[in-house]
Symmetry: D2
Subunit: 250 residues, 4 copies
């Protein structure tokens, strides 16, 4: 049994992780740590992997504390910068245990991670590519971080393959054409009833490839979280890893 | 047999109409009139319905000439203003024959006409609605005229039903949110391989209605053109009619 | 304020109705009635509209009891036959109050009701039409009752318009072509993560119309339930009405 | 310039290849060979790569003849069996030139090839997967060969990853559930206006991944044909290669 502790257990995501761990046949919940609790209670003696889902302002310190105690960590909190990641890498180098691992994922939905990965793989073979992301209307940022990443990945893959700019005969101002990120048009829809969705359209003369990821609810992140926990518990991923695609056999 | 003459027979759309008329069991082609030909050759003696597909600068004069000769007209050329339409109505009032009819459609694709109509019907029952139009990259305007019309129709239907503004928590600038037409967000995709497509998304808590029209090629307009020809030939539509939905049993 | 009582308040749907009524600005919850409670406690003195969401074996008796007491009823329970409906009509004729009303809907999701209605409206104008329904894998029947209804409505609309059979060159056995209902092919997908979805595809030469309804979760039925409650409370719908489309301005 | 000869130049696909070669900046058309012509006129002196698009009954002999003359071949004709492929391999072993190459693809649409490949890559990470293929109504077989291949590839990938059977609570007969190929449900839609389309749905709790390939017209195969011609002309692919994915950087 993999012993899992959850940091941020009172938050919406943390509570979902607690449920998912309790429902998994190969895991047992070791500790639920909230704001009031001492993170130092999580140690290699009681925990194989800690899952951290808190807020950007708290996450770095949580991760550094867990690493200092020798605990492997799966991190779902967002807001990581290169500077913060460097601190984690340094902490891992100085950790008390050999082979310590931290895994950070901007998105744990397997469908979203695969859509992003497949879009970049396909991009060099198509004349055109655009990204449409669709979310609930409470979302404050547009486009989503995932859509920005997808657009950048498409642009990078096309550039690496020596591709030409995409054709676009639009004349004059055209707000309807969306936001252009590294040459890729990105559109954001906000619709009551939706949760988090992304669609990538790739076109050649006479053909189209559409890759769409739908995350209907929070539970959609749990298969990805459990996959990350199992992967760290299995060993062999020492150091810092970013992005769930690293743990998929692609 | 309905005797049909085609004005603009050398253009791409006109040539398609010629083909469609020749293929229809209940029609026969009476005359093909191009730029060099005299439109006065089209008369009630040889023609039941004329189909006019030319350019905006020529269309009004063509229609007025045909009406003056007593010929019913189906018009596919775009660029009609209220002033031009008023001239057609006046010409019809003064026409040589009782019950003369002119029919003008901005879009002959039945799928597009129905999508536009259904979207407006559904709009009052949903919290959110957005429009995505997708076209080949050679298109110079964005968004499409059809998408503008759909957005306006959605907005009008919601206003008539006393609806509230749509929720949108987006903060700051967000070019990805598209162009806002009467409060409805409209997005335009330009993709190699596509022709002319429109998708309307309507959302309530927990549910979504999607209405999508795909026009894969020019031939998609022909069923609508033939439907209009048959309707005029059947009589009972004296005067000026605009929009194919008027001829559908909705 | 519309005073609403909920019969079957402990069930999943009933509990959702209780929540939705409590959240509505123009309604107040009068009574929650479960299996152990006496339905006779619901009277015109405390209730404007009762909402009944129980099981097919109990629903008829509940509705007859409520009608006998002079209470208007919105019914979400399924399993209604012509014989049962006739009993409700007779009870309404003999009810203690003039203008009493019962409303029964096989489906309260507005998107699904509109998709079904639009599909039938559009059907006469297209050469081909097929239905794909998609549900969670726990569903025991296939295809869904809604998909059967949609296929029948498409077939009836085509027949009324004198349409020809749809073209289909498939040779030999072809289980992949789905179930044929009144000449309309119906396909059922069962996929983990989905809830209740239906897509109608209509095709002509060169064009396609797609109408899709997504019900992501149980809450998707509540706008339809509240719409029915408000419509009955507004009066003018005496007698038995079946189907939410009767209450939409279509 | 790559010198290309086309065998089957009078057929629909062959004629499209002729057009595509003539339009390509880096190719020149060397010879067009039809039924009446002598295939022996194609030699390494005038041709770098021959493209063969004929009929299953003629293709093997054409390929063997070209190989015997030392010409590399891209084959688009279908109907290849293991026995036929073995004859090609043997011919290549005995060919007059070192490094001779034959490339055979069941499908040259890049979108379809990628959809098939991505579906198999993703399959092990999802609880459910189903395939929907959609074609014009003149198609005589159902499901399509591509859909069968996709279903088999999904099943193989799941089996290799030790996956469990997909959940399906359907009780009783259910023709609407489609054809089951290696445990994967496959649905075939036949709709006027469509050409060749395939959609793969993959589902987990709370999420869905959709991969869709649209081939709108015959021209959609040409980018794949030219890619294969360029790859053979570039050398390094001696022997027999089957499937366009072998020439994509995946």
């Amino acid at each position: 049994m993999i012993r899992v502790s959850v940091v941020g257990a009172q938050g919406r995501m943390g509570a979902s992780v607690v449920e998912a761990v309790e429902a998994a046949d190969d895991m047992e919940l070791s500790a639920k740590v909230g704001e009031q609790d001492d993170i130092a209670s999580i140690t290699p003696e009681n925990t194989d992997v800690a899952v951290e889902f808190t807020v950007p302002s708290a996450s770095l310190n949580n991760v550094l504390a867990l690493v200092a105690q020798g605990v492997d960590v799966v991190v779902g909190t967002t807001g990581w910068t290169d500077a913060k990641l460097a601190q984690v890498t340094q902490a891992l180098d100085n950790g008390p245990r050999a082979g310590q691992a931290v895994f950070i994922a901007p998105n744990f939905a397997i469908s979203a991670v695969l859509a992003d990965y497949f879009a970049a793989k396909a991009a060099p073979y198509f004349t055109s590519a655009e990204v449409i992301e669709l979310h609930h209307p409470d979302k404050v940022d547009a486009p989503s971080g995932t859509a920005i990443h997808t657009a950048q990945a498409i642009a990078a893959a096309r550039a690496a393959a020596g591709g030409e700019p995409m054709p676009d005969g639009t004349q004059g101002e055209a707000a309807s054409r969306g936001q252009v990120i590294d040459g890729v048009h990105v559109h954001a829809v906000r619709l009551q009833g939706l949760n988090a969705h992304e669609e990538v359209l790739l076109g050649n003369t006479g053909e189209q490839l559409v890759i769409r990821a739908d995350s209907f609810e929070r539970s959609s992140f749990m298969p990805g979280v459990l996959l990350a926990v199992r992967t760290l518990a299995g060993g062999g991923h020492a150091g810092l890893t970013v992005g769930l695609d690293a743990f998929l056999d692609l």
